[in-house]
Subunit: 312 residues, 4 copies
């Protein structure tokens, strides 16, 4: 019997490639304000592990030194260890090869995991048991926020936005095999999906996909608490000379508030807030091709050229 219960909880982490690891680490820790939790070397490439201050687990962003920027893989958090078996069986039944890894096998603090390729060529991981190291607050009588944070300091990773040549195949894979639910879609005039937004966390999206090169990363996003925080972050980005791609504005899709900018390697980052609550029986919202501009940037009603052509 089909169930709508969520075995996937949320986005666990992203691993991204950066040509200059020290420069990227300085940016993510000092400007964006993430915390470095570990370093290792894997497959000959040094890596830096980072987490946001309010995350309890060991890492949410991993930087891997590599010649080009881009996404190494995405990882989603599973509710239970048994969910690894559930998805392995489901994927293999659909002819998708799955590799399994023991806890800590993939790196420090890493959970037990399975990995497989999406139809778009993106490497996808599901994991359970990432080491819990606590957020930066005491568990007894905590203040609402540490007062000594550095930089923008978003509380947590929020979602991931990638590109695929075949958005419909990508979407079917994520909804049917990984049990994501569709919240919004942009449809071409001929009815095919140009972009889709998918969730498990009762928010507008944990992952989204738009038409583009297979395997490409459009951006990954951190949660901010409100519109005012987005503005203060833009002040800090401008002060530090970070290239701001899109100044604070609003999406039509998700209703969210946003600013886009680039890490020193050219990976696009987003700060995101807002959105709405999503029940499992949510009826998806559709945007037409004519209104794509408004769907993406609600105020300007136009998508800048960089949105479609600049990715990593």
């Amino acid at each position: 019997m089909a169930t709508t219960s969520d075995r996937i909880i949320r986005l666990q982490h992203v691993e991204v490639r950066v040509p200059d690891l020290e420069l990227a680490t300085a940016y993510y820790t000092e400007v964006l304000g993430l915390l470095e939790t570990a370093r290792d070397e894997r497959d000959g490439a040094p890596r830096v592990f980072l987490k946001c201050w309010d995350e309890r687990e060991h890492h949410s962003v991993i930087l891997r030194e590599a010649p080009t920027h881009g996404l190494d893989h995405m990882s989603f958090k599973l509710n239970e260890a048994a969910d690894l078996d559930h998805f392995t069986a489901k994927l293999e039944a659909a002819g998708v090869p799955v590799k399994r890894f023991a806890a800590r096998e993939l790196g420090p603090g890493w959970g037990e995991a399975i990995r497989f390729d999406a139809p778009s060529g993106h490497l996808v991981e599901l994991t359970h048991g990432t080491e819990r190291i606590g957020n930066m607050l005491p568990k007894t009588n905590p203040p609402p926020r540490p007062q000594d944070l550095i930089g923008i300091a978003p509380p947590r990773l929020d979602h991931l936005f990638v590109m695929a040549e075949d958005v419909e195949a990508f979407t079917a894979f994520f909804t049917e095999l990984l049990e994501f639910r569709l919240t919004e879609q942009i449809l071409a005039n001929d009815g095919h999906q140009l972009a889709t937004f998918l969730e498990h966390s009762h928010t507008p999206h944990d992952i989204a996909v738009i038409t583009g090169p297979n395997g490409a990363l459009h951006h990954f996003a951190f949660w901010m608490d409100d519109w005012n925080g987005i503005r203060e972050a833009a002040d800090a980005l401008a002060y530090h000379g970070v290239t701001i791609d899109v100044a604070p504005t609003r999406h039509g899709v998700t209703r969210g508030y946003t600013t886009y900018f680039f890490d020193p390697s050219g990976n696009r980052n987003e700060l995101f807030t807002g959105g709405y609550w999503v029940d499992p029986d949510f009826e998806p919202i559709t945007w037409t091709e004519e209104e794509m501009g408004r769907a993406i940037f609600y105020y300007h009603r136009q998508v800048n050229e960089r949105f479609f052509t600049v990715h990593s």
Copy 2:
């Protein structure tokens, strides 16, 4: 096998007693800005059904004419119809009598439901299949918010806060039988629970309970989008002469922003925003009795007398 998957999604509705139904309806629709969706009469008492603008379902607040104010019952939304059987079996195995109702049997738009008493005497309902009537926006190319809303117009109901003589028994019932998770607790110096905060929706609380008379309602809360919205709402409340119990401030527990006020019948309402994301494996936060003031009202560090003594 124990599971951490959520069969309960969120708070579905509250039914509250009001001595003057028309006055209460005017307040909830014109000042608070909910929408009236139906009226009926049940057990000889006329009722008004209300929903918030961004809710998709038929009702989230039901007003029932009655000699005194207070809570008739609370209702939580189930993921699937089969969850009605799951909880019926679990409750009956624990010796809790359960009554079952067909869809629409309890009122217009009402889902299939089971009802039972919590140890505190509160009537609890679990329901599935409340009629979906849509929010106030089109499903194609919607703006982020209707522009013609009246009053404060919170997008949705958020949580419920009740009182119980035995907080520990109440908490055990909700965590063990209804599978809620504990996020925060206030402990007396002797170690027993003075208040607990429980969730299924990955937020700090869907229901909370504090030491007090069995069956009492402390408040129910609507979600607001940000701190600025809380302030604008306080302006509207003051303008309309609503009694503001606690002006905009911050909780230590939940980290949330809040304002408390009373409906014309004396039921306490809250506007709430903020909070944090809760994973199912969240380790609870504990507040000590000495810090209860800061736990409740983070800025003043003192709880006003009304907080403990005024309820309905």
Copy 3:
């Protein structure tokens, strides 16, 4: 003896040309939320008089039907009637012809006034005694804001931004003869002024000028209370299909928060907030030509083509 006391208090009003008077009136009253206070016909052209809700005087924006859009004249409020004589003498001594008008001669509610041309060809008025009709609140026990405002409803007109071929001559005229103070300037690499910002009201600008066609209007701006209000206004503009020129962002010059958009005739409007306090002995801030992008739009560091080429 030179004095730094302010005889000019602030911008009193702007009169702008609109080809479709009814369409413009609908926009300014229903979307922007100004109040219509009078209509008349002058020199064969029908006019509509408007004020913002918190302004006490009869008008701050006057719409004049005309074949093309643009600025008819700007008017500044004088402290005292005697200041009319002061400036008349000063202007005539400098060879500037001055015309004088009695109270109500120029239109309903109009103060006593003098008019003259700036070196850029802009018609400038100084006035005293505009009819006071009160804001929309009682003078006894007022709430902080009316609750029944329509549209965006900025509390007041803030400043004016025009274009001139010779920015230095314009600036000298306004500082030497009209006693404005320079707060900021953008200098070309050869040292000449590309843009200047001038004030009497202890804010970053009551009028500003940038290199462009003589007589041109770049925009006029209304005050908003904060960054959140700018965002909510952008929601309303987008909802009503208004062309948003620049979504909410921040200026480097003035530090202010802003959004630009166009009235139905093509006159650019701004909503502005922020800035800083200016003492009369304020030492001006200088922006270099290389940093002009950051001076105008602090986050994007680039000025869109429309900023320089679209005016009225």
Copy 4:
């Protein structure tokens, strides 16, 4: 001839008494985030000079070691040196003894000054020529705010609120001799003034007075940029254990947003924002005695006992 031009620009500084100078200095620099600019000793008492980051002049708060807390004197900034003579003549003609001090005679960075007693016994200073040392930003291509500020860091001092046995005599002195303008007043049922609000800076108040002991200080206030900043400041105050007198709320008088708290010596501080623009011909707003609660705290409609009884 009567003039409405402003010879007084704004509040220049306050000098307050603190029993523990080092503790007070730590609080004002590390929690409130002011900058220490000088130290001296005068009349046997050591003093610390402080300024806010966006103030251009040498000091706005001076702490003087003394056995009890309270106000030593208030000082207002004059437009021109000649205004010292103007007010000396005016005060002496009214029988008020005036003492004159040369620049730097009263302390480091101090302007030329006159001093005299208000009818309430408060020592009042008018000054011109306080040393200008610049704000913390460059004068060429400045960012909108330094990124390395410590603590709350309000940009500037805003106003002062004192107590007087005879509010009407105090008000007459400030309006007739010092040319302040009345913006708002709270009237007793018999028509006499219980509190008045007076300005020169086109804001709701530069100084206010309420019925109480002669010579008493109720509070002095720093400007914050918006309601969100008030909330963030309250987080910082709570984090550092500062006693918050009134959590973020809104005044009816001035329409301003506020939070009150105490420095370690017991002097009440305020963070204030909002308000409205005041023309010199502003018609004062009156609050009745019955509505005093709403006038002071617009949301709670009640003034806490501390408001009237705790002062310094």
